[in-house]
Subunit: 339 residues, 2 copies
DNA sequence: GTGAAAGCGCTAACAT
DNA sequence: ATGTTAGCGCTTTCAC
């Protein structure tokens, strides 16, 4: 049986209220120093752990935050999740996993599941264009912060890397290397906001450089390897004269490299490539991938900070992180050519 | 404010107990048909959701299971986690993430964190040789099932793929292709049980084939890409005459392929390779990797089943899944050469 | 400074 | 077939 407050009280010869007071540290001087010590000792001796549920029941809280994500197996999210976990643990919050069930078709069931469990707040990693459940929940007053993306109509602080700037940097890097016909591959055209941010960063860089934006060089797709593979093949069909690719993700970049290599292209000589996200595998490619890195751990922690603020009834600002260009070998740049 | 049982009771004009009864469906005929319907309607209308904490407080349960894992970012675990989540959700259990905090050095803090949150049970993905906290908790009576691994001294059912058999199959595949000097690379010698299971499967296959087991062909490591890269280099130093590699994981296999390629080797002509785990990226390699697949989703679900059984006070048997040989191109086998 | 009483939302026993 | 009572472990008044 688990040790309860009253066990401690009995052992220490005080009332439960007193024990509760020393634990919560409220009322700084409302507990006598020696009583306090006695209680502390007893807690230690009995190895007492407060019952989170009982406490939560009273305060109407669960001390749980939910992380809503479409696909847990998305390896991009691993580091972010670690960052979330650590920050949450430091704030005495548990992290509840919410993800779309494979066995239940319903979209956004993750959010509903989390809500009905009564989580104190939700970190939402969405990729939908119009996340109606999230919008609804946020409107109802459930603390919610969006991570990695910014959804129109969703009144909730976001924490994300500056996708626009990252895309701008990637494209500018290519431009700086002399490329002029730069394709954007895996552009998530019909889709999520981060995709259009990346697309716009790409366009702006071209524009600022006085380079023509050509629609034929923009190949749609999603963020997957398969998508990159197919998109590169289409690029070869559509625009043989392209000399560089800015891919919407590292998965896409690697898929594209594969397709290119199959037709005898050499990266970076025949085609330079920049990715986005800096995944572990990107460094392991035959031609290590130049890419845009996001501070994933920090983003996870920042999301928790914002969420905690919301839960406490305060306001939370949006947080935008700086992307970082990681130069490897897929563009042919000298590694010491910083930026 | 959240709707409570008594709100529903008041609206429906019955007592809270009655509402509770129709919700829990206990006492099949102890609630009148029309009362039941009235209550059901009210619940629907008010969109009432039971408060999990209150219910838990009473029963001494949290309806939460913890997943203890060293490193959330381990992409191998993604599908397993999805399997766990889905099965847990189907059993009305929440999945609480427990992982080693980066900012707190302490090992196994994941388990303690989960325990002190009062989870009903834990799915333990450990890789330690002697997991003393887990052993301790299980002995204390906390329902616990180990997944992907089997730890000595830990009295808890395990759910895992047959590592021995998988390694046996991999090695036999290589043997069947005519290889005789087959290295085992990334062998987790000092380490976790699954590593020795895989090593033993490898040895047994050689033995059954009458092939000599050579220590020089066994290169230690862990399951990482870096480890595979380094191990392959060492293999080249130690035993240039090796013609095939059975890698302890797909990460290792891919790292090894990279090292091999850097010195001009061609896979599979100069060196055949089999991996283990069937990770998504394995299919994307320049030379798609032949590997041993584990039924990850099913394993996650099975772990939840066992855990639920334990929580219900029943016994749970060990569950061993069949590995599956996935033949691709890294061994030079005809793809239709099944098994 | 400390304790007694009340109650968070729910269910298991015991009535009726 | 339905309601009443009590209590899970804790914190928040309010009293002493």
């Amino acid at each position: 049986m688990r040790i309860t407050l009253s066990d401690v009280a009995r052992e220490a010869g005080v009332s439960v209220v007193t024990v509760s007071r020393v634990i919560n540290g409220t009322y700084p001087d409302k507990v006598g120093a020696e009583t306090r010590q006695k209680v502390l000792d007893t807690i230690e001796r009995l190895n007492y752990k407060p019952n989170v549920m009982a406490r939560g029941l009273l305060g109407g809280r669960t001390y749980l935050i939910g992380v809503a994500i479409n696909n847990v197996a998305d390896s991009f999210f691993g580091d972010i999740l670690q960052g979330i976990h650590d920050a949450a643990a430091a704030a005495d919050l548990g992290v509840l996993l919410g993800t779309r069930r494979l066995d239940v078709g319903k979209d956004e069931s993750a959010l509903r599941e989390l809500q009905s469990r009564g989580v104190d707040g939700i970190i939402y990693y969405g990729t939908t264009r119009h996340p109606k459940t999230a919008i609804h929940l946020a409107r109802e007053g459930l603390p919610l912060v969006q991570i990695c993306n910014r959804h129109e109509g969703l009144e909730a602080p976001y924490v994300m890397v500056d996708h626009f700037k990252g895309a701008y940097m990637a494209t500018k890097h290519l431009l700086g290397l002399g490329h002029r016909r730069i394709a954007h591959v895996g552009a998530y055209l019909g889709g999520d906001p981060q995709g259009v941010l990346r697309l716009n960063g790409y366009k702006k860089a071209l524009e600022d450089n006085g380079t023509k934006i050509e629609e034929r060089l923009i190949i749609p797709g999603d963020y997957t390897w398969e998508s990159g593979y197919a998109a590169a093949q289409e690029l070869l069909d559509r625009a043989r004269d392209a000399t560089a690719i800015f891919a919407s993700s590292d998965f896409v970049a690697v898929g594209a490299m594969r397709a290119l290599q199959e037709v005898g292209y050499h990266v970076p000589d025949d085609m330079a490539i920049v990715g986005f996200d800096d995944m572990p595998f990107s460094a392991w490619q035959d031609v290590p991938l130049t890419t845009i890195a996001q501070p994933k751990l920090e983003m996870g922690a920042a999301a928790v900070d914002s969420l905690v603020r919301l839960i406490d009834g305060q306001k939370a600002e949006h947080v935008m992180f700086e992307p970082r260009l990681v130069i490897r070998e897929s563009c042919g740049a000298k590694v010491d050519t910083l930026a």
